[in-house]
């Protein structure tokens, strides 16, 4: 279960990443941020973002037009 949810639906690159970063900043290590997005580019972008920042991408799922990510802050 996520500790916080960020609804980034309807937002385009790079806003989902910028908003996720901002949300993660306010969270504790070990907490999980759920991000909802409709930007198809965000699938590759969140993988790259987590890879680079060391945060853990627990989930990357597609349901219809909505992409769901779960990021564990490290």
């Amino acid at each position: 279960m996520a500790d916080q949810t960020l609804d980034a639906k309807g937002l385009n690159c790079p806003l989902p990443i910028l908003k996720a970063k901002k949300a993660l900043k306010g969270m504790q290590a070990g907490q999980v941020l759920e991000v909802l997005s409709t930007d198809p580019g965000s699938v590759a972008d969140f993988a790259a973002f987590c890879n680079q920042t060391g945060n853990e991408l627990l989930k990357s799922e597609t349901a219809g037009d909505v992409y769901t990510f779960e990021i564990k802050k490290t």
């Binding site: 309807g10 385009n12 690159c13 790079p14 806003l15 990443i17 910028l18 970063k21 930007d39 680079q52």
Partner: protein
């Protein structure tokens, strides 16, 4: 955010263009890099300095841009150069672009610039350009530093990525 114990990645961007469309690449890449823990320096020179003005009034021009197609009335429209010279056409194209930006959920340039400031991106205004174009630092946003080519080089030499836009 900036550890001086240094495996921090660094990026520098030289920004030379001051139109609405060309404002996007540097601000998108700069803010995204900062979100990915990269230490970013943005060096604004020549027309790029327009992007640092307190009052942003950015426009696009269709002139000399044969690749620009804008959706309009269900089709994609290209502008012949002769049309671009008619007064008001650039204003109209700018309004169309701003409407599209909103409609497609793309960040505005003021928002991206705000994000850049919030994420501690170092912004440097070219002193020589200020002199050349008789611009006043009072007209630029707060928190920027002034510098020249040597200032840029010092940062660029220790950067992992250097872009010229």
């Amino acid at each position: 955010m900036l550890d001086s114990a240094d495996n921090t990645k660094k990026m520098s961007i030289i920004i030379t263009k001051g139109t609405l469309d060309w404002a996007y690449p540097p601000f998108i890449l700069g803010t995204t890099a900062a979100a990915m823990d990269v230490e970013v320096t943005m060096f604004f020179t020549f027309y790029g300095l327009q992007l640092l003005k307190k009052d942003l009034d950015l426009k696009i021009s269709t002139l000399g841009n044969p690749a620009m197609e804008m959706p309009m009335m269900g089709m994609h429209m290209k502008m012949p150069n002769i049309v671009s010279t008619i007064p008001g056409v650039d204003r109209m194209a700018t309004t169309m672009m701003k409407n599209l930006i909103k409609k497609k959920g793309v960040a505005s340039i003021p928002d991206l610039r705000e994000a850049a400031i919030e994420s501690d991106i170092k912004m440097v205004a070219c002193q020589m350009t200020l002199d050349l174009f008789e611009m006043d630092q009072k007209d630029l946003i707060d928190g920027i530093t002034l510098g020249g080519a040597a200032t840029y080089m010092e940062g660029a030499l220790e950067s992992d990525i250097n872009l010229f836009i």
